[in-house]
Symmetry: C2
Subunit: 465 residues, 2 copies
């Protein structure tokens, strides 16, 4: 247990005893389990919870939270641990609520294009279960995260340019409040003007206002046809201008990803591809056969105007899969360039008009830092990542990677962007939240105090109180 | 002034004196001006503010709010008075802040497909000013409302099925808080995971948390081609099933409106059209020439399967305009069926799977009530309105219309819907908000208390404290 007075320690011991009685072998205070829930692949040191429970239902989550509330024990929700900003580290110890066993698809609305899931289902598992329905859930942050975790961090990924982020795709939530009450936000109607948008408030709140236990999601019909292709450009400007014009023309591109020269080099080495080492766009279109053909042709024409190479596109599944597999392996491709190293992804998003300038400045900052850092971006949204690969055992490299990470955020804020497009604030970006939003953070704090007056929900995250 | 003790009255008088000094002839406590700002076309009696100011800037709004805050004077924001649930009525008197003179288009981001406007610009004025840019703002609630008012009520309308509601299209806000501080929420990046979604919290808060003075909006490229058409159906079920399948097929329909038999009769009489008196869909598609042709053809095929008549569509501007003009005149067409009467629109939204049943039950309730009540609906979202036409001088008719309005909400809630799809809660639907959201309303109240502890912002709206 973290250090505390004897009276508190006794109260805590009794509270954990109560939890153990309630959860049986789904309660654990073993070191290995606590370690598993207290380490993230980030700059942050391990911060272990004092115990972990594995509930099966909203009621069990509520019961656990009530015990914690009565004893002022911090509560930290946990999905599958793929978040990138230390969002689930137990900064003040307390109880970790692992939602991974709440992984049921509760209901599918075939006519309504929606479903309700327990928070612990992962996106791949969900799509597996939806396969026979002809529907799918598009949001794809790369990692096979849980829907609850994706909601809590307002995740997005490669196809947000077409389908939106979790903000647009969560229709309703079941939430356990910090006092153990259960509320339902939103609903199954496609839109509503009834009261404050609590769904939107809890999406992206990173567990600081309550625990999301069920999520109602918007689904989409599996597209009749999908086409994909790759196009390299003479210049970064040409690639970005192609993105801008594609969107201005209203082409409903489903994915439009930028990989810089360095990233292409790593991909070629790792995935045995022979792409030209130039700024390159990977694109995908969804629609009817005729629709994707039209979109692909139009895109090729736009690209040609901006110095794009020959744009070849295909609707053949194997070729498409190989293409996106190469893209999805980018992280490992980068790691393979420097065996034994660690990779950490930065995450900023700027107005698309500033994207070319911001990436150019970022490229210069990377070079100055000496860190190996390819750039990949969900550029249709102005969102890009630098995958910094560095030796975790070299204090100098760690320091340079940290400094580079900070520099990239400063650049993005200077261009009117945000310090995080999709990873969230967690522990490390709290000062940037203040820099980005100023007095609005006081309003966030007021909301936090109103909903969680005792401050037990995921303390230390998003902002300091 | 509303009734109050002498001390308060004196303080108020001095506060209004201060406001008068600040705003000069843009301050008024004349009866005619107060009347204009205190009457809505609804069931509600007039509720006048004690004075009205017409600011030109965020700073002036903030100065006015600071004076009100120091004197506990209620503050009610006002755009152009088109809201339908008494949202701007001054239930406790106080100061009305009329934003209609803050009507500038501040900035257009041609490459970013966004713009920033002052809150008092109307949507038609905005689109007029955008015309030469090739961009447009799609949200169309019918009335020529202000963007600030549309944000505050989370408005939508006919093309939300394609473009979303204000929830999806407001990227950021400038808000004057109840203590006069000014905050900026959201930003110009297309997406962000930085902190609580305050933009979403203020959108739909109906002026109860602060005053929206500037709005950053998402814009869209004007479509290359637009096609429209009309299709009548043998049955309501056939029409609704066509809507469901159109959306399941991923056809990106821009508008899909249902008019029932009664509505068609009124439209025919008023607009000299000769549509069959059957459940009818008005549809519109946006895209390339080939795209809208494909969408229209596919829609016609789906409709035919579900008992739809011959679907004729056109891309000719005059024919399209005539069609939508007839749709937009539906309100007046209904009024013309009973000269001298008043029309009030109900507003519910249900899961689309329940739409046919809910409309059928609603139809029965209308007949039982004896009220003339055609149905029109933004059915792609499950949102529909009954335009109740009644004699405001007949207490019996007024009572029956009120009872019918309540009955329709009860039906929608029974089908898992919401008590308001797009008009907001205002004064009249507060009890339904509680019925719909239960304990979640306590969370809304906690948020209200946190942001507006003195309760001066548009008091009496959305929920009772």
């Amino acid at each position: 247990m973290t250090d505390m007075g004897t009276v508190t320690a006794k109260a805590d011991a009794s509270a954990y005893g109560e939890l153990q009685a309630l959860f049986g072998d789904r309660f654990s205070d073993k070191r290995a389990i606590r370690e598993h829930h207290g380490r993230a692949e980030t700059f942050y040191p391990a911060m272990l919870p004092d115990a972990v429970v594995f509930p099966h239902s909203t009621e069990e989550v509520a019961a656990a939270v009530r015990i914690c509330a009565a004893n002022a024990i911090p509560v930290v929700p946990y999905g599958v641990g793929t978040s990138l900003e230390g969002n689930f580290l137990a900064m003040r110890g307390g109880l970790c609520i692992d939602l991974s066993r709440m992984d049921r698809l509760v209901r599918v609305g075939q006519e309504d294009l929606d479903c309700t899931v327990q928070a612990g289902i992962t996106r791949k598992q969900l799509n597996e279960e939806l396969r026979h329905t002809g529907l799918f859930f598009p949001i794809d942050p790369g990692a096979d995260a849980t829907i609850g975790g994706m909601s809590a961090t307002r995740a997005s990924g490669t196809n947000a340019v077409r389908y939106g982020t979790m903000r647009q795709n969560v229709l309703g939530l079941t939430v356990v409040l910090p006092d153990g009450r259960v509320i339902h936000t939103g609903g199954r109607a496609r839109k509503s003007a009834a009261g404050y948008d609590l769904t939107g408030l809890f999406v992206g709140s990173e567990g600081t206002l309550g625990i999301i236990t069920e999520v109602t999601l918007r689904l989409y019909g599996q597209p009749e046809a999908i086409s994909s292709g790759v196009c390299e450009f003479e210049s970064l400007r040409g690639a970005v201008d192609t993105v801008i014009q594609t969107i201005q023309f209203g082409i409903p591109v489903a994915r439009i990803e930028l990989l810089d020269e360095l990233q292409i080099r790593a991909v070629n080495a790792y995935s045995k591809t022979d792409l030209a080492e130039k700024p390159t766009l990977f694109v995908e279109f969804h629609g009817t056969d005729a629709g994707v053909a039209e979109q692909s042709t139009l895109f090729g024409e736009i690209a040609a105007v901006h110095g794009g190479g020959d744009f070849k596109w295909t609707t053949r599944t194997e070729e498409r899969t190989a293409l996106w597999e190469a893209r999805h392996q980018a992280y490992y491709a980068n790691l393979a360039m420097r065996p034994g190293c660690t990779a950490i992804s930065t995450d900023v998003c700027v107005p698309i008009s500033a994207l070319c300038d911001c990436i150019t400045d970022t490229r210069a900052a990377i070079e100055e830092s000496g860190i190996f850092g390819p750039i990949v971006g969900h550029v249709g949204d102005g969102n890009f990542h630098v995958v910094m690969v560095f030796d975790p055992h070299s204090p100098d490299e760690v320091a340079r990677a940290k400094a580079l990470s900070e520099r990239i955020v400063e650049l993005a804020l200077g261009y009117g962007g945000t310090c995080t497009g999709e990873h969230g604030i967690g522990i490390g970006k709290k000062h940037y939240l203040v820099e980005e939003h100023g007095d609005a953070v006081d309003v966030m704090r007021a909301v936090k105090r109103a909903i969680d007056p005792a401050g037990i929900m995921n303390p230390g995250k998003v902002f300091d109180m």
